[in-house]
């Protein structure tokens, strides 16, 4: 009975092509999943709004020697393909990009904005919404929704943020931009401080030396009760010259008088007394200033002069050092101004009106294409297997 009662297979009545088609494996394995995907994308999937911002990290000053070294290394590794560089982004721009996709940025944004709530809005559909809120998994989700792309030719970094509400996207983009700005500023500050710190320390040292030398000179003057040792020495020399002159004159006078006077003439006694007095005076002067073998008080002027000249020299050097340190600080200041980093926004985060994501057509088409190719391969393999059995 049952053999006879199978009319659908035996019946010559032609089914519609649609009915025959749906029993084909191609329909079941490719068309149906594609239709399910299409249903999801067009009917269920929540719209995702993109907020886009663009910025440039300007770095005046030396354009990262590190990047050049890397480029050289790459050229060497490629074996003579060197000189390929050109349009390589500076290391600062790269570090900003790395920062924006890091866990640190995620946590900061989460603290400020509450990323979990933002990606778990009620309108979010079950496939696209955030499910796991552990930091690492949040970071993975974040990297799916936030795209940081660096155009190496123009150095422009594009930040694209997706979420389920236009305001959320905009706010998150704004927050991230601000975080990036903070980072750039702190980097810049750091560079500037490093350059200036050395110059400032140099100035400090020089200033201290100048003050020390002035103080030493003052102490010397107080101690020795002398304003200008060089002047005193000069005066002593002049005095001695005068004494020597007077002595020579007195001697000449004595010699002259002896021509016509007896040596015991009392009129000569005055001249003799003058000569004697002058000689004594000269000897006293000499021992006072230069005789080192004399008592402790002797040779004062020599010592004073040496000390005085040393102090004057020190003062001169200290002044010169301060002057050069000041010039150094000036150059460091201009240098640090040149090395400033700053982030300038080119495109402000926009408020999306139309939901660009999910890309329904692209996704459905790629799912269909992937399945069709996989089906083709599978069909070829299975047919190959069947050939063995036949």
């Amino acid at each position: 009975m049952s053999q006879i009662g199978t009319p659908p297979e035996l019946s010559p009545q032609p089914r519609s092509w649609l009915f025959r088609f749906w029993r084909k494996p191609f329909f079941l394995l490719v068309i149906v999943p594609s239709l399910i995907a299409a249903f999801y994308f067009y009917a269920i999937a929540a719209p995702q709004y993109v907020s886009e911002a663009r910025f440039v990290v300007h770095s005046r000053g030396n354009e990262g020697g590190q990047a050049a070294a890397m480029r050289a290394a790459a050229g060497a590794a490629l074996g003579g393909l060197g000189g390929l560089g050109g349009g390589m982004a500076s290391s600062e721009t790269n570090s900003i990009r790395d920062y924006l996709s890091s866990l640190d940025a995620v946590m900061q944004a989460d603290q400020k904005l509450g990323l979990v709530a933002l990606w778990q809005r009620p309108e979010a559909d079950f496939l696209a919404r955030l499910w796991f809120t552990e930091p690492e998994r949040l970071a993975r989700f974040y990297n799916r929704m936030v795209d940081v792309a660096l155009d190496p030719m123009t150095n422009v970094t594009t930040l694209r943020v997706r979420s389920f509400r236009p305001e959320d996207s905009k706010e998150l983009a704004e927050t991230l931009l601000r975080a990036a700005e903070t980072l750039v500023n702190s980097l810049s500050e750091r560079i500037r401080n490093d350059t200036l710190k050395v110059a400032l320390r140099e100035i400090e040292i020089a200033e201290k030396r100048v003050l020390d030398s002035r103080a030493a000179l003052l102490r010397f003057r107080e101690q020795e009760r002398e304003l200008d040792s060089a002047g005193t020495a000069q005066a002593a020399v002049v005095l001695r010259g005068q004494l020597e002159g007077a002595l020579a004159q007195a001697r000449a006078e004595l010699t002259e008088r002896l021509q016509f006077m007896r040596p015991d003439n009392p009129a000569l006694q005055g001249t003799r007394n003058r000569i004697e007095a002058l000689e004594r005076q000269i000897a006293a002067e000499r021992s006072r200033h230069t005789d080192t073998s004399a008592t402790l008080g002797g040779a004062i002027l020599v010592r004073q002069l040496a000390d005085y000249e040393r102090l004057m020299l020190e003062r001169e050097f200290a002044d010169k050092q301060l002057a050069s340190a000041t010039i150094g600080l000036e150059t460091a200041r201009t240098e640090s101004q040149r090395q400033q980093l700053y982030l300038s926004r080119i495109v402000q985060p926009n408020l999306a009106v139309y939901a660009l994501y999910p890309r329904s057509f692209t996704n459905v088409a790629s799912i269909f294409l992937g399945l069709a190719i996989a089906y083709g391969i599978g069909w070829l393999l299975i047919v190959g297997m069947r050939e063995h059995a036949a």
Partner: protein
């Protein structure tokens, strides 16, 4: 025809195919290396020798950075050897086995699968030996062995897809096999074995990432060195290449089979 009958037929066919491939592997080993056992050893020695040579050349030339040059190049070369070995032999597979096609149970893909299994298994063996030797010497294992294995399998599959296409093409167009052979050498500098994408200037990075082998080598390096390097790869892209080349290759082989029959 009902479905269960069809499935049974396919399963029976699959069993036969497995036996055919097994037999073809043994036959291929005999024809390539002769019947004495040292012959088989060449299967392992060739990639091992070439890999260590390349590794030593770079060990002498380069400075160690975050990774040693030996492990960087030697391991990559073994993976490249799969690619080279499979594609270089692709053009000779049909002519040298054409007699076997008189047997109805032997199909063209079987011949290729057998050869590719030999090539892949030997290189996986060499890879394991090399990695353990490096572990014994340096004490560092790959950070993620799964990724290393995945790179190896991906390379074998990609090579298989290309080899299937190349074999069909060489059969269709006379004299193209020399071009195929030259290609495996010409692709050597750009295949990703000698560089990391991260070393390239950015405009070249985007170009390099169009080459599927570059992704595979990046995956290998990611598995080998992990977080010590920055790698760029997209497994979906590689999967796409593998699928498309297989589809074209298998379909082309079916057409080729009909043409052989007509001769």
């Amino acid at each position: 025809m009902n479905l269960s009958g069809e499935v049974a037929l396919i399963l029976r066919g699959a069993r036969t195919q497995r036996r055919v491939i097994g037999a073809l592997i043994i036959r291929e080993m005999h024809t390539r290396f002769g019947r004495h056992y040292l012959g088989y050893a060449w299967l392992f020695f060739e990639p091992l020798l070439l890999g260590t040579c390349i590794g030593f050349i770079h060990l002498l030339r380069d400075q160690a950075t975050v990774f040693g040059p030996f492990e960087f190049y030697a391991v990559a070369y073994v993976v490249f050897f799969v690619f080279r070995g499979i594609i270089n032999r692709a053009s000779t597979a049909i002519p040298s086995n054409i007699g076997l096609l008189y047997h109805r149970t032997i199909t063209l893909p079987d011949i290729f699968f057998a050869r590719h299994i030999i090539e892949t298994v030997s290189c996986i063996g060499v890879l394991v030996v090399l990695l353990f030797a490096l572990f014994a010497i340096n004490g560092d294992l790959p950070e993620n062995p799964t990724k290393v294995g995945l790179a190896m399998i991906g390379m074998a599959l990609l090579s298989q897809g290309i080899a299937l296409m190349a074999a069909a093409l060489t059969h269709a167009v006379e004299g193209i096999e020399r071009g195929v052979h030259a290609m495996t050498y010409l692709i050597l500098p750009v295949c990703g074995m000698f560089f990391l994408v991260d070393w390239l200037p950015e405009w070249l990075q985007t170009l390099a990432l169009y080459i599927p082998t570059v992704h595979i080598f990046e995956l290998l390096r990611d598995g080998q060195f992990g977080s010590r390097l920055r790698t760029h790869y997209d497994l979906g892209y590689v999967a796409g290449w593998i699928m498309v080349t297989h589809l074209i290759g298998l379909a082309a082989l079916r057409i080729t089979r009909q043409r052989i029959g007509l001769e």
